[in-house]
């Protein structure tokens, strides 16, 4: 069965510095992978998704993620953090039939 491990439960960065949120996955077949963001007391918003077309995926708000099959990783990055990026981020892998398997989440704090 698929599984997802988000390696950091909390990440703290200063505004204007790079963001790295780490995600490793386990999948028995070619997975689709997603990053969702959840701002406080809000629903989940899709940031980006990988579906085997290109290993480097660009998403909304300047985020991108690179699929590395050899490392079974799908880390999320952004060159320069903004205060509005403070939120919880979820890495997600699909199971057969489009059942989503979520990581536990990473809370991103952005310091001014």
């Amino acid at each position: 069965a698929q599984s997802v491990t988000q390696l950091d439960s909390h990440v703290s960065v200063s505004e204007g510095t790079p963001v790295l949120l780490r995600c490793n996955y386990s999948s028995s077949y070619s997975p689709s992978l997603f990053w969702y963001v959840q701002h406080p007391n809000k629903g989940l918003q899709l940031l980006l998704k990988y579906t085997s077309a290109a290993t480097l995926v660009k998403g909304i708000n300047g985020f991108e993620a690179e699929f590395k099959k050899s490392e079974t990783s799908f880390h999320l990055t952004k060159p320069s953090a903004h205060m509005s990026d403070a939120a919880e981020y979820f890495c997600v892998v699909t199971e057969y039939g489009n059942k989503l398997v979520f990581g536990a989440g990473t809370i991103l704090r952005v310091k001014s």
Binding site: P31, F34, Y36, G43, Q45, V92, K99, L100, G105
Partner: protein, 116 residues
């Protein structure tokens, strides 16, 4: 905006009472899902539906039932609520054109349920 609404948005109830949460979509999608969100667990699938009257269990289905009598509505029922069912509940719909694993799920705003 995927045209998903959930009602109620907040509910406080007592142990042993029945509770029904409603998810409504306006875009006629076939697949709908119910998840619960708890700290440290991300979201976990409770039940899903692949058409009117067609439903199946997810990872954490015990204590929950669902019904879908028309395309636009997917109901989640807690027959006898327990404190362990205090959670935030999210509904989702699935959009896509290229195949099941590459489709994208879009989420509603959530319902915060507290069982005392």
């Amino acid at each position: 905006d995927a045209g998903i609404t959930q009602s109620p948005r907040h509910k406080v109830t007592e142990t042993g009472t029945p509770v029904t949460l409603r998810c409504h979509q306006t875009e006629n999608h076939r697949y709908m899902y119910w998840y619960r969100q708890d700290p440290g667990h991300g979201l976990r699938l409770i039940h899903y539906s692949y058409g009117v009257k067609d439903t199946d269990k997810g990872e954490v289905s015990d204590g929950y039932s669902v019904s879908r009598s028309k395309t636009e509505d997917f109901l989640l029922t807690l027959e006898s609520a327990t404190s362990s069912q205090t959670s935030v509940y999210f509904c989702a719909i699935r959009k896509g054109t290229s195949g099941a694993s590459t489709d994208t799920q879009y989420f509603g705003p959530g319902t915060r349920l507290t069982v005392l």
